[in-house]
């Protein structure tokens, strides 16, 4: 059943650009996939290990800036830049994790919030490196040839497929983690951290590994952001609201599930973007509303709720 659903989903994702040429709809699908990617990588730490980070925008921003700067000042190919963004993000995650994981529960969340604000303020003021609030702009992305075909970045379609690859890989990664020893450790940390330590799990190392993995994927997403929007500034990529949106997508979709983030992203991002298209401000109203409804009535998230429904029926 699940396998059938996954295959149907993949087929739909692969063929979607053939179905419509409407640029708003293409943008919408790219955004849904982008947020699926972020929600899935946040879920690695927040869902499986129960460590609610309010600071994941740090890694998004680092990935975006590394990609941007390595292309603009070093002339590195944007794809390698994206990869570098992920790696640098993961490298930053290690010290951040070692500091913040000394704290538990809500205190950890507050500490990640503080780290995110510090990084944002540094990015805003370190003008030699980041150009400060002016931001960085890519005016031209050279077309690349891939498997004999030329990829033209002026169109949205290549970004769409790039987003599909990234989002599906992130979901595959969360699935793999959920079946792995690391996943079992993370669940143990979430359920009872003291007992996990008592049975010999190095909880700090486990959580740091999960954070680094999560940061790597968010860093890649940051690189994608930089290439797709071609403009970054500290308030765009290091904003608290970005970190919070990732949390909301994962929680509303379903914590610690593989399909949760895509469900959360489809629901929240499409409502949000359609609202933003019609009215200028306030597209996050529904994020807040859904968050409150889900916590109160459906703590396992929309996907978790659907799964329970099917189980009860069948």
């Amino acid at each position: 059943m699940t396998r059938l659903l996954a295959a149907a989903g993949l087929l739909l994702l692969a063929s979607a650009p053939l179905l419509t040429g409407n640029p708003f709809f293409q943008h919408l699908m790219i955004m849904v996939l982008f947020w699926t990617l972020l929600g899935a990588s946040w879920n690695l730490l927040g869902g499986f290990a129960g460590q609610v980070s309010f600071g994941h925008a740090v890694f998004l921003g680092i990935g975006a800036y590394v990609t941007m700067l390595s292309y603009l000042s070093l002339g590195v190919s944007p794809f390698l830049g994206m990869l570098a963004g992920g790696i640098v993000g993961a490298m930053f995650a290690v010290p951040i994790g070692l500091i913040c994981f000394r704290l538990r529960g809500p205190y950890f969340s507050l500490a990640t919030l503080a780290v995110a604000e510090i990084v944002r303020l540094v990015a805003l003021n370190w003008e030699q490196l980041t150009a400060g609030p002016m931001g960085l702009l890519i005016t031209h992305l050279p077309p690349v040839s891939f498997a004999g075909a030329t990829i033209d970045w002026e169109s949205k379609v290549p970004f769409y497929y790039l987003a599909v690859i990234l989002a599906v890989s992130a979901m595959a990664l969360t699935f793999a983690v959920s079946r792995s020893r690391l996943g079992a450790y993370l669940t143990a940390v979430r359920e009872d951290i003291d007992s996990a330590e008592a049975v010999g799990i190095d909880t700090v190392r486990t959580r740091v590994v999960a954070l680094a993995l999560s940061a790597f994927v968010v860093g890649l997403a940051g690189g994608f952001y930089a290439l797709y929007f071609r403009y970054v500034d500290p308030d765009a990529v290091f904003a608290i609201s970005l970190s919070v949106e990732m949390v909301f997508i994962a929680v509303v979709g379903g914590l610690a599930t593989t399909a949760g983030p895509i469900v959360g992203a489809v629901v929240l991002v499409s409502i949000g973007e359609i609202f933003r298209d019609r009215f200028q401000a306030g597209h996050l109203i529904f994020y807040g509303l859904f968050m409150m409804l889900v916590i109160r009535y459906l703590p396992e998230g929309i996907w978790g709720g659907l799964q329970r429904l099917f189980r009860d029926r069948g």
């Binding site: 503080a114 401000a281 994020y287 409150m292 109160r296």
Partner: protein
Amino acid sequence: MESFVQSVVSGVLTGSLYAMIAVGLTIVFGVMRIINLAHGDMVMLGMFGAYWSYTLWGIDPFLSVGIWAPLMFAGGMLVQRFLLKEVIPKGELNTLLYTAGLSLLIANLALFFWTGDYRTLNLDYAVMPARPFGISVPIPLAIAFFMAIAITTALYLLLSRTDVGRAMRATAQNPQSAALMGVDVQRIDMITFGLGTALAAAAGVLLVPSLYLYPTVGEILIVKCFVIVVLGGLGSVPGAIAGGVLLGLVESLGAVYVSVAYKDTIGFVLFLLVLLFRPAGLFGVGKS
């Protein structure tokens, strides 16, 4: 020397208002064990309340505290009764996420109705600062300072001298025992959340003549508020007051002696250090 005195004065003035907001957050945490991420948005609602009552009806913000604080007290009681009460038993993290949702909802409704424009409220008597002893003191900030002291003192007396205050402190220490001693814990929770909301909104009203207001102003205020409350020890009222003044001082002295650009960063670094090395707060009074 003069710039030192000047920055101490402005640090204490701003710090007193920070303290007032933080006291609201800390009593809610102390009694109900929830970290209310929507607290900054309550300040924002107070600011907009004062702004509209001034622009539409010409009521001076320092008088409209008398309207907005009681209204927000009632609003806070309703939020606790109809929104938070069912969620608190689901655990600390769920409650944190729930208040994050509430915060996003309030801020974005405000964005939708009032747009993201930066607004200011200019009072006639606020143009020139007073200059006692050659130190420049902005008049609205000075009035706000004295009103913040009065309101915080009133709260302190309420907590220490009245039956309701005693019941609140008992609930903070141990809700089960308090209930066994005949304290209506549900009612105390409502009153506490109402008071926290009213303090936040009142501080917002008092801040309006001195700050820009915009719908997402709560975001930066709540983050500062956490810094203060952690500095002073979560759940401690004197700690929150001391932490508020301390943060005000750190910011204004940091702006003069370190760098204007990094003045906010100093507060966050201090916050991380305290969280890591003295989680009970600088004064060792809070419960971690």
